[in-house]
């Protein structure tokens, strides 16, 4: 399928989804179920990644600034790069990789096993039943996960700065504070929200349009994670331009 045809198909899918979703509240209990599955199950991996993002930001910041006598700026570097850019993108990438692939493959399997057809035949709108809870679940959870990622990144960077690099912890904290403002946390959560929408709709779109057989499921899952990842980093660039440009 050509790029334009795919974009057109996504537009039709999005319009149909919006039409379905405005009419009724989400299926009872399903949003909480999805939020739990996305949030709780992604948390361990996210924490591990955030730890090492923080450690490496501290190391690289030190390497960059120490030669010019600017090692005290490590805190500022970590807070600006970590909070504004790395934490939202890392959280979204983890959710895309874990929850996004799970969504795409689950829905793709339902498609090839005619379960989506069965749902439609029972007069239950599959866009409403399958996608809306996943979208709301991820939108509830991803901003919170982003904030958790920020916190863990800062803590791990602080740990490396103080215990490995031997710098003053109070200086790190002071310069970290200077690097950010309260509104940065709002921007991070807005990024988390936007990325969550992209992940849910993108993954579900690919799952819904899966081709036949296991190859179809594989292609849908692969297409979902690649496309969503590219769109997320591009959207991150646009949002950073708007917020900080």
């Amino acid at each position: 399928m050509s790029f334009l045809a795919a974009v057109g198909r996504f537009g039709i899918f999005l319009a149909a989804f919006l039409r379905s979703s405005w009419r009724h509240p989400p299926p009872p209990g399903r949003v909480a179920e999805e939020a739990y599955r996305i949030g709780v199950k992604s948390l361990p991996v996210l924490l591990i990644i955030a730890v090492f993002v923080g450690t490496n930001l501290a190391l690289q910041g030190y390497k960059a600034f120490a030669p010019i006598g600017g090692q005290r700026l490590v805190g500022m570097f970590v807070s600006m790069a970590g909070i504004r850019e790395m934490a939202p993108v890392i959280a979204a990438s983890m959710i895309a990789a874990k929850a996004g692939t799970e969504m795409a493959s689950q829905i793709a399997v339902m498609r090839i096993r005619e379960q989506i057809d069965a749902m439609e035949a029972m007069a239950v709108d599959p866009l409403w039943y399958l996608i809306l809870p996943r979208l709301l679940g991820i939108v509830l959870v991803l901003p919170a996960l982003t904030i958790i990622a920020i916190f863990v990144t800062l803590v791990s960077a602080y740990a490396v700065t103080v215990w490995q690099l031997g710098l003053n912890g109070a200086v790190f904290i002071e310069f970290a504070r200077q690097g950010i403002q309260g509104v940065d946390f709002l921007y991070c959560m807005l990024k988390g929200l936007a990325f969550g929408v992209i992940i849910a709709l993108g993954a579900c779109f690919f799952g819904f349009h899966a081709g036949a057989g296991p190859e179809g499921v594989g292609r849908a899952t692969n297409g979902a994670v690649v496309t969503v990842s590219v769109v997320v980093v591009f959207l991150n660039y646009l949002m950073s331009e708007v917020f900080y440009g």
Binding site: Q115, E120, M122
Partner: protein
């Protein structure tokens, strides 16, 4: 709502054609399915039978022609009307199409949970257990889908298809993937349902023995065209070369002659 009389047209395909890319799957199909009788559509694999049934459900739209169910155009009517028609239909898909993350009870109760919110959990459970009893699976309500055999999946799928007490029941290859014993058991189950419910059955199948057992009318679909349609007795004695060849290859005709008491059997 006035119940259709036996034999009234309840489903009508008028000049239905459908192609996927270059491949024409249905070619100008005209078909009227009578109410409260059992109609089977037979034909070789890949001849368009499943595509036909998906048009009846409204999952596919014809490139040309109309598909009317209870008088509603399933391709052009507003979504609300199509959904209203679907609530009066039950469908058994090939592999049951059960939801793996739900239990047997949750699967069977799925349409009730969405369309009969007046029913409490106890009433829903009772309805589920009744339908599971009907399909020969008493006590299966709390089982997982993964623990079911192929035949059991079909039975649970059938229980789900009848839980809303539909007026039309559609079967997409009910015997596919089953061993001969289980296939026979499914045929007997369908016969039992036919006697119990007295509603319109439409069965898509390539299993001639099962078809002849249960169907009042048979239509033969071959390379997308409906080559013949009529009462079962007439079809099995058909002199149409396509029909005769298909039946001869798939049927022990001496058994058929004994069953139908017919002297003229291909």
């Amino acid at each position: 709502m006035v119940e259709p009389a036996i034999g009234d047209p309840i489903i009508a395909l008028q000049g239905v054609s459908k192609a996927f890319g270059e491949v024409e799957v249905l070619k100008d199909v005209d078909l009227v399915i009578p109410a409260r009788q059992t109609t089977a559509i037979i034909g070789p694999s890949g001849t368009g039978k499943s595509v036909l049934i998906k048009h009846v459900i409204g999952l596919l739209r014809p490139d040309r022609g109309r598909v009317l169910v209870f008088g509603t155009d399933m391709a052009r009517a507003p979504e609300k009307e199509i959904y209203a028609v679907r609530r009066r239909m039950g469908v058994l898909f090939q592999d049951g199409a059960l939801f793996d993350s739900l239990s047997v009870e949750e699967n069977v109760a799925f349409p009730l949970a969405h369309h009969r919110r007046d029913l409490g959990p106890a009433a829903r459970r009772e309805a589920v257990e009744e339908k599971l009893e009907w399909v020969g699976l008493p006590g299966f309500a709390d089982r997982s889908i993964a623990s079911l055999s192929g035949g059991q999946r079909k039975r649970v799928g059938l229980a789900r298809a009848i839980v809303m007490e539909p007026e039309i029941l559609l079967f997409d290859e009910p015997n596919s993937g089953l061993d001969p014993f289980t296939s026979d058991a499914i045929d007997e189950l369908i016969l039992g349902m036919k006697a119990r419910l007295g509603i319109t059955f439409v069965i898509i199948s390539h299993d001639i023995v099962g078809t002849v057992k249960v169907a009042d009318h048979v239509g033969m679909l071959y390379e997308g065209s409906l080559v013949e349609f009529g009462p079962t007795r007439r079809i099995v004695a058909s002199e149409n070369p396509v029909v005769a060849t298909f039946l001869r290859r798939n049927l022990d005709t001496s058994w058929l002659a004994a069953r139908l008491g017919s002297e003229r059997v291909p």
